[in-house]
């Protein structure tokens, strides 16, 4: 049975106003209030991250602006200098938690997004290539994937750290190395299905070069699962960065990401100075949940069965 053959709806499309895939996508996406809420939340968070320097009362990365004597202040206390109020308290260095969260969002988000993007780029290229050429190319790439998957990320992160020193860029590199395999597997899986569809054969019959077939024909058709994976991976990358920071191999201590803020405050958790860890934790939670909400809806929208 050809599930899609229904000239009725086809003709309706042919007759009605041409609806671009994007518009259709928009309509489907906005179908879920939860997802829209997630999107709004994410946009808000992204804006905060972008405009953090304008919004934050303090530059938490400028050590000269911090004062150890203001360390571990409760939420809503005034700074000893009187210049600002610590709405969410301070950490042990006297860093304003709210400002820290704003700036930390910047780091966490950019680390997450950039690493997911680069990982997606590398991973899906490799996955598509593996699926398209098959055989030896496939074996080699998939063994690389295996290798990656059985390698603890922490060890990779340490090696990167040793090779390149500490820094946000190096964390991104570590995350990319940790993440590309997921994309490669997904892309390969999707492409293996697409690869045997007749439009690919048609392109071959038309002597279209392999690179073009891979990137112009296969890639766009493998995008839905990749986009879904990407949202999950962004969230995963942010969480992983937090974990790496927790284990002491993440971003530089003086420029804490959300994860590092949490990790730093962790020792104060039991002693009642909960805010150091708690509020960044909530921020991290919001980020990841908003991304996942979006990803969830994407999954439903991009899945052809899920429509209507």
């Amino acid at each position: 049975m050809e599930p899609a053959i229904s000239p009725v709806s086809d003709s309706q499309r042919a007759l009605g106003a041409p609806e671009t895939p994007w518009r259709r996508f928009y309509r489907a996406f906005t179908g879920s209030k939860l997802a829209v809420a997630g999107l709004v939340l994410f946009v808000a968070i992204a804006l905060i991250a972008v405009f953090a320097p304008l919004l934050a009362a303090q530059n938490p990365y400028d050590l000269a602006q911090l004062d150890v004597l203001d360390g571990r202040m409760k939420p809503l206390t005034k700074a000893s200098s009187g210049a600002l109020t610590y709405w969410l308290g301070t950490d042990d260095q006297g860093r304003d938690i709210l400002s820290g969260i704003f700036y930390g969002l910047r780091i966490s988000l950019s680390v997450g997004l950039v690493s997911a993007f680069i990982g997606a780029l590398i991973g899906s290229s490799l996955g598509l290539t593996a699926a398209y050429f098959g055989r030896r190319v496939d074996s080699v790439i998939m063994r690389l994937v295996d290798l990656q998957l059985s390698f603890p990320t922490i060890l990779i992160a340490l090696m990167i750290l040793a090779f390149l020193g500490k820094g946000v860029v190096n964390v991104v590199i570590a995350l990319v190395i940790a993440e590309w395999a997921a994309y490669a597997r997904t892309a390969r899986g999707a492409a293996l299905v697409e690869r045997h569809k007749e439009y690919v054969e048609a392109a071959e019959a038309l002597a279209i070069p392999s690179a073009k077939i891979i990137f112009r024909h296969l890639l766009p058709n493998c995008l839905p699962p990749l986009i879904v994976i990407a949202t999950v991976q962004v969230a995963r990358a942010i969480a992983l960065e937090a974990t790496l920071s927790f284990l002491g191999v993440g971003v530089p201590v003086t420029e804490p990401s959300l994860g590092l803020l949490i990790a730093n405050g962790y020792q104060y958790m039991l002693s009642g100075e909960y805010w150091i860890s708690f509020f960044p934790g909530i921020a991290l939670l919001l980020v990841i949940v908003s991304i996942n909400l979006i990803g969830d809806q994407l999954r439903d929208v991009l899945n052809p069965r899920g429509q209507e």
């Binding site: 360390g71 260095q93 340490l158 002491g248 201590v253 730093n264």
Partner: protein, 504 residues
């Protein structure tokens, strides 16, 4: 927990039962329970008789020791000088050992048995610290230890000691179970069984204590101290420790580097650390008390030297450097840095208590006098790699001999591989005057004279700002009500120092 049993939560990892395999405090704790040493340290750091009842230098290079009579191994065989000779040999040659004990025996050129209970130790040069160093070497029995491997000790097959406890079970990574050795020569111990549980996670350790899973924990996280001190169900015990946190500066480089640049980011033409005024400015700009009280929550005290007050060779004249931003700025300007410069402060982030936090606090304070400081925190294993090139780096140093000379010769003396000098002097500080003073002190047997020389050396080093001492770490323990702990300067968490609390 049933009466007569004691559960201790240890923060560190016990990696072996073999007392000569790897020198780490948790291993020493276990060894301390199972074995005895020739000399012992009291909790406050005094040297006391152990298996040796007395010792004296019969010549400047020969120590003679009288051994304790009627001591029995836990299998009932008698303890003799032979066992000591065997131990001295074994401790230096444990197969596959990553080392750690030969350092304490370095000064022994030859060990001789005079009779069953008398021993002579010959040193190549006068070695006033030898008895103190022997407090680190557990004495094992010859009859059991001959041919015994580390595995044999771990499995308990050859773990025959003279100590207050006997090994019941060792579960790597999890626990060590001991039972009382009723034949021990010392005072009768109140604990029939002792279990050490390894709980590296600080929060978990505290909650285990609060939940009653363990009776004593060591390495109390500073963040929890205020609450634990308030808690009626818990006692906190503390004592100033022998561990110093200090900043080492670079004396080797002639110019600045990527870690010491002008305000535009170009390496400085001249290494600023070579200027005493800069060093002094850096030292005086640090509010040590704030760090100790606020950041470390009083788990450390501000210091200008490296032993707790009252310790042997403590220099009363050397005060905690004053916190004086104005003076520091002035000194900087005098040294030719009115605008300051950029500096990277290196620190490990998993080695010393709140190491990266201390570095950040220092960086804050330096930034306020115009030295714009970046903190570069790395895990200990990576931290080591470039240690010789750091411009300013945070390190810790313990003085197990509890006298000033140990740090002087290892950290401040001009590095000399052949003599074993300055092995921890990564910044290459070199002061010939200090070197000769140190050498002189270290070969003087008379305690009084030696102390004078040492104090003089301490004063000299601090005048020259050879390094920037920051904090003297205190050691903390917490026990549940019903247990009292006598805190020890040497960080060890020993059952012999825990007693049931007298009912009130």
């Amino acid at each position: 927990a049933p009466a007569g049993s004691l559960n201790i939560g240890l923060g560190g990892a016990v990696t072996t039962i073999d007392p000569h395999f790897f020198n780490a405090t948790p291993n020493q704790v276990i060894a301390h329970c199972l074995f005895d040493r020739l000399t012992e340290r009291s909790p406050s750091g005094r040297l006391e008789p152990g298996l040796a009842l007395s010792w004296k230098a019969v010549t400047p290079t020969v120590w003679e020791m009288k051994l304790r009579p009627n001591v029995k191994w836990s299998d009932g065989k008698p303890f003799t000088a032979d066992d000591v000779l065997f131990t001295i040999n074994r401790a230096r040659n444990v197969p596959n050992s990553p080392g750690g004990f030969s350092g304490f025996l370095r000064d022994i050129a030859k060990a001789e048995r005079v009779d069953d209970l008398t021993l002579r130790l010959v040193t190549p040069a006068p070695a006033p610290n030898l008895p103190a160093q022997l407090a680190f070497v557990a004495i094992v029995s010859r009859h059991a230890g001959e041919g015994a491997s580390t595995d044999d000790y771990n499995a308990g097959r050859k773990t025959i000691g003279t100590g207050p406890y006997k090994l019941v079970k060792y579960v790597p990574g999890d626990r060590v179970e001991l039972e009382r050795n009723d034949a021990w020569w010392g005072p009768k111990q109140p604990w029939q069984t002792v279990t050490f549980r390894l709980i590296p996670n600080p929060a978990a350790r505290v909650s285990a204590l609060l939940a009653g899973g363990v009776d004593v924990i060591d390495d109390v996280p500073p963040a929890d101290l205020p609450n634990l001190s308030k808690n009626k169900a818990v006692h906190v015990a503390s004592i100033p420790g022998m561990r110093l946190i200090f900043l080492a500066l670079n004396f080797k480089a002639k110019t600045g580097s990527k870690w010491a640049t002008d305000t535009d980011g170009k390496p400085l033409a001249k290494n600023p650390m070579l200027d005493r005024r800069v060093r002094l400015a850096l030292s005086e700009s640090i509010n040590r008390t704030a760090i100790a009280d606020r950041l470390m929550q009083k788990t450390a005290v501000a210091t200008g030297q490296w032993l707790p007050p009252g310790a042997y060779s403590y220099a009363n004249s050397v005060k905690v450097p004053p916190y004086d931003v104005g003076e520091a700025k002035k000194l900087l300007a005098e040294a030719g840095f009115p605008q300051g410069f950029k500096l990277t402060l290196q620190t490990p982030n998993d080695r010393y208590p709140n190491d990266a936090g201390v570095a950040q606090a220092v960086a804050q304070m330096w930034s306020r006098i115009g030295v714009q400081t970046t903190v570069d925190a790395r895990p200990w294993n990576v931290y080591q790699r470039e240690r010789d090139d750091y411009m300013a780096a945070l390190w810790g140093w313990g003085s197990p001999t509890l006298e000033a000379g140990y740090l002087l010769s290892n950290v401040l003396e001009t590095p000399d591989k052949s003599k074993g000098h300055g092995v921890f002097n990564f910044g290459n500080y070199s002061n010939p005057q200090l070197d000769s003073l140190t050498d002189k002190a270290m070969s003087t047997l008379d305690d009084g004279t030696r102390e004078k020389l040492l104090v003089e050396a301490v004063e000299m080093a601090s005048r020259d700002v050879a390094m920037i001492p920051l904090l003297q770490m205190s050691n903390f323990w917490a026990t549940r009500v019903g247990y009292v702990m006598t805190p020890r300067m040497d960080e060890r968490t020993l059952p012999i120092n825990v007693a049931p609390e007298a009912a009130k």
